[in-house]
Subunit: 313 residues, 2 copies
């Protein structure tokens, strides 16, 4: 790649100085908050690629309103995340955490646990992560409904995609509620006391989306009160989760440090996605994984969209 | 059922007195060792049904050589066990145990873990449990080979079933080795130092079969030395596992108390299997789940076999 571009690796504090001169920006440190303040008033990169599936930190007005094409790393994270969700659902159903606790104490205590086959799940998030979760849970015999933005019948991959406004009805009959949606105005604070109250009593909740979709004090209350039978969170409003946050000790809650997508092949996989798009960009060909900046995610109809007509400067 | 039979519920110490008068025996407490000593010298039940999938404790000579039909509870346990295996494989790949440990300490520590999609597994056990495991692992994108007793091509459910003597070659390339076989002379002490040495270094081992198939001191050594990258055992040579057994603290070993099959619907499911067979037996119709007493399990070609021609006395 160095043969085809001048590569500059910049820390956050040099963003403002370098961005006006960059044709393309690879956001490798995708947790950064430095971009909105550093985005140039005019010009700036015509292509921004992020080494993440989520793009909520890139949805600031200057980039959103710019001509820049935004692409993400769809394809790298969804299978590991789907495996994580399946694993946590089985772990909750079979009380793996309780088994590990007893192992530590050398205590043999047989319990009766649950079968996941034949249970029901609803997955919020019609993007590639939600779809991978749906495929995986269905493979385990879990009857799984997918909720996206708008209703669609006959989807070749998942059948019916339910509309967002059907969520409440589906929540009432689900044993498992999985949040795999992007953070948008619609999903911010979505999982609050009212939403948890609409779930079947004892339902379990898994969040692999973004922390701000969950009102954490309401989740804590629902767990303590038993309305929620358990939960597994990989994302939090504040990350790292502070050591004194009560979620660490919440009953039947599995806390993991935002790692569900991160496998030992991810660096190679991320590099491959970027290199493929870079090659396309140089050639003026349509890029992959182009984010719809109005929607905040890559539309499912994944037809590559046209890059800037002129190609790279 | 009480309308159609005289039901006698007997503890172990009354077995010897009651068995000569019983037409049928339901072995509910399937962990019992009392049957061999209590089986009558002549006569005895013409039908023995066990509330388990495994029948190794019923393979004593007097029953084996008798005319009694032996049936088991195939169908009740395999899906929960397959889910357990899938869950433990994901838990090992994603280090759930390490995540729970850090949660207990309120420590946020991101790690890179593994994707199971694209890995390879070999499952020993051509019976219904092994088959359910194969189906479930394949659904997770794990390339899975099944080893049974004899080689069979074109199996409608799993494709090729490999012969037992192909196991060594398959072990060498598997990331996951799952034991779901019945305990027989062939499988007793099968997983010893030599077998672990044939596995790919760092492979992980899951046992949902029976404890005596594993030489536990060799397993411990393989874990400590790193030849095995991890293991999950639900069965042990001595159960309950004594509190001072070193397996409790073995590195990367998940110990669970023989509960992988036991879900909150199992009693209903077990009752249903027995009731169905009881109805068949009364009517002189072929029973389901008839164990081949030479093989020690229900042959896969699951054509119901003829019950005793005269039907119940």
């Amino acid at each position: 790649m160095a043969a085809h571009a001048e590569l500059v690796c910049i820390p956050e504090d040099r963003l403002a100085a370098e961005l006006p001169h960059a044709d393309a920006l690879l956001v490798w440190e995708f947790g950064t908050d430095a971009l909105p303040g550093a985005w140039p008033e005019r010009g700036g990169p015509r292509w921004v690629h992020t080494a993440s599936a989520g793009v909520d930190r890139l949805m600031f007005p200057a980039l959103r309103d710019s001509e820049a094409i935004l692409t993400n790393s769809r394809g790298v994270f969804e299978q590991p995340i789907a495996e994580y969700v399946a694993g946590q659902i089985i772990a909750l159903a079979k009380d793996f955490a309780g088994t590990y606790d007893r192992q530590r104490e050398h205590v043999w205590r047989h319990r009766v646990t649950q079968r996941v086959w034949g249970t029901r799940a609803v997955v919020l998030g019609g993007g590639p992560i939600g779809r991978a979760v749906v495929r995986t849970l269905r493979a385990l015999g879990i009857e799984t409904d997918l909720v996206g933005r708008t209703r669609r019948e006959g989807d070749p991959e998942v059948g019916t995609v339910h509309a967002f406004d059907e969520l409440d009805g589906l929540l009432a009959r689900a044993d498992w509620v999985v949040c795999a949606a992007p953070l948008t105005e619609q999903t911010q604070d979505l999982f609050d006391a009212a939403t948890f109250a609409r779930m079947k009593r004892g339902a379990r909740f898994v969040n692999v989306g973004r922390g701000p979709m969950v009102v954490e004090k309401d989740l804590l209350a629902a767990l303590e009160e038993g309305q929620l039978g358990g939960a597994a969170l990989d994302v939090f409003r504040e990350e790292p989760l502070p050591a004194d946050n009560p979620l660490w000790d919440a009953p039947n809650l599995l806390v993991s440090p935002h790692m569900s997508a991160d496998t030992d092949t991810w660096l190679d996989d991320l590099a491959e996605v970027f290199a493929d798009n870079f090659t396309r960009w140089r050639a003026g060909r349509p890029l992959r994984n182009v984010v719809d900046k109005e929607l905040g995610y890559v539309p499912v109809a994944d037809a590559p969209q046209a890059a800037a007509e002129e190609g790279p400067r």
